[in-house]
């Protein structure tokens, strides 16, 4: 189990960032897809911001690696 500081983007290689970022994006997309399918107000309130946040976290991880590789 990596420590929290090891998860900071500047402590990870580009490959790690791409791998972890892409998994986060997939998890977020799945959460949002569930939100689209299920119009339950409670689920929407929880899953919509959570899914969006997870996708954005994954996107930041990818963007960090991308910017560093330029």
């Amino acid at each position: 189990m990596p420590s929290l500081s090891a998860l900071m983007p500047w402590r990870q290689t580009d490959e790690q960032l791409i791998r972890r970022g892409s998994i986060l994006e997939i998890v977020g997309i799945v959460l949002l897809a569930i939100t689209v399918l299920v119009h339950n107000p409670l689920l929407m309130v929880i899953l919509l911001p959570l899914g969006a946040l997870v996708v954005l976290l994954g996107w930041v991880a990818w963007a960090w690696a991308f910017m560093r590789s330029l």
């Binding site: 949002l32 939100t35 399918l37 107000p41 991308f66």
Partner: protein, 192 residues
């Protein structure tokens, strides 16, 4: 639209998995372009589409009446009563029928839409966690601005209905529209 979003999500997940498996993605120019499109642009476009779709879905009457406490209010739109405001507006097509709840219960002021969303969160909290007993009431009195947003420039309002005598009071909010138009929703049970 929901079908399209789900289909796009499946395609996107497959593409992300393919890019993820390719080692040294960012080492080559082609890899960078591929990552830019698949990991950068497409998820953001899909996220934007999903947000737009869910935002529109949450404004629909169907969504509001998913909570059983709102069912009588949804039914009141179809009530055979020509005095109840909700029934009159809905049945005479004076509001977008798909978004009838949202149209009347969103304030037409700065950040009115955002405030409506925040009120929605309070509704969910009240519905699932309790904290409210008895009859459902608005959190704040209904403001005239929301009526005048549509009616304020209507000839039927300006020249009819006996509004001329106290137009200033109505526009300033000193006199509430609901003082005369006092039935917002009609419930069948009230006659029982």
């Amino acid at each position: 639209m929901a079908f399209l979003l789900i289909a796009a999500a499946i395609v996107l997940v497959v593409l992300i998995l393919i890019v993820r498996r390719a080692s040294g993605t960012l080492a080559t120019r082609q890899g960078k372009v591929l990552a830019l499109v698949v990991l950068g642009l497409l998820p953001m476009i899909w996220l934007g589409g999903t947000m737009k779709y869910t935002d529109a879905a949450m404004k629909k009457v169907d969504f509001c009446v998913r909570c059983h406490s709102m069912v009588p209010y949804g039914e009141s739109l179809h009530a055979d009563d020509d005095w109840a405001l909700s029934a009159v507006h809905f049945q005479n097509n004076l509001v977008d029928r798909e978004k009838a709840c949202y149209v009347c219960h969103t304030s037409y002021v700065a950040f009115g839409g955002l405030k409506a969303k925040l009120r929605g969160l309070r509704h969910v909290q009240a519905h699932y966690l309790g904290g409210h007993e008895g009859e459902i009431e608005l959190y704040e009195p209904y403001i005239n601005t929301d009526c005048l947003h549509c009616h304020g420039v209507a000839r039927s309002f300006l020249e009819g209905g006996g509004h001329q005598g106290f137009m200033d009071e109505l526009r300033s909010g000193e006199t509430s529209c609901l003082e005369c138009h006092d039935e917002a929703h009609y419930f069948e049970d009230e006659d029982a």
